[in-house]
């Protein structure tokens, strides 16, 4: 597969998932860049943010212009997120995230089943 086809595919799939599900762009773009483009981990993580930010802005504008927005809810969640992001960064320095990751993956699977049923 040529490099340009790979870049095109990664872009399309990342944008589609991020727009359709409002999330998951990084979860796709990071491993895609590592596996298909052979980028180093930290470069892939940083580059993914540069990719997903403009895609997220496009999707957010489309959602908002179609009235899918609750500013009160959004602001409350963001305030929690700022504090959480700070704690998360501190926590990461102190304990390995391996076990936490497994706990969160269990939550994701359980929540997914509840959402499907």
């Amino acid at each position: 597969m040529s490099k340009y086809i790979k870049l095109m595919l990664i872009g399309l799939v990342t944008g589609l998932a991020n727009g359709l599900f409002g999330s998951g762009g990084g979860t796709i773009a990071v491993p895609a860049m590592i596996l298909l483009l052979k980028k180093e981990d930290h470069i892939a993580h940083a580059t993914a943010i540069a990719v997903i930010l403009p895609l997220t802005v496009v999707s957010a504008v489309l959602y908002i212009s179609n009235s899918f927005i609750d500013w009160g809810l959004t602001v409350k969640v963001i305030m929690g997120g700022i504090v959480g992001g700070y704690i998360g960064a501190k926590l990461l320095a102190k304990c390995p995230s391996r076990i936490l990751r497994k706990i969160f993956s269990l939550f994701m699977i359980a929540a997914a089943i509840r959402m499907i049923l």
Partner: protein, 123 residues
């Protein structure tokens, strides 16, 4: 409760796991907004954190722009198609599609080998 959901999602993002994959299901299950609203909260939530992370990464020269630019060009096309499709779907249907996507990501997160991943806020 909403603050708590934001808090947990922030912690998760800080650890380099996609915050949205926790934030959206937590909102839908505990605060019960429409699926579209939960997704828009996550999209907007991501923007300020990503701007801060991006500035730090640009300063540290960690961004491969030659790779990012072509991905963004096609990514914007994908984002248009994906968002239009989501907007047209009823919330109850979108929620089920999201559930399938989340299940795949959850299983992937469960079975993948844990490398020494650098922290970064991924959506």
């Amino acid at each position: 409760m909403l603050f708590l959901i934001g808090l947990v999602s922030g912690i998760v993002s800080g650890m380099g796991i996609g915050g949205g994959t926790i934030l959206i299901p937590a909102l839908v299950l505990f605060a019960k907004p429409d699926q579209h609203i939960a997704q828009s909260v996550n999209l907007i939530f991501f923007i300020p954190t990503a701007v801060v992370a991006l500035i730090i990464h640009i300063k540290n020269r960690r961004i491969d722009f030659k790779t990012a630019i072509p991905i963004v060009v096609f990514g914007i096309l994908g984002a248009f198609i994906g968002s239009r499709f989501a907007i047209k779907l009823p919330g109850s249907v979108l929620k089920k599609y999201f559930g399938v996507f989340l299940l795949i990501l959850g299983i992937y997160e469960m079975i993948r080998k844990d490398g020494k991943k650098s922290a970064g806020s991924n959506n």
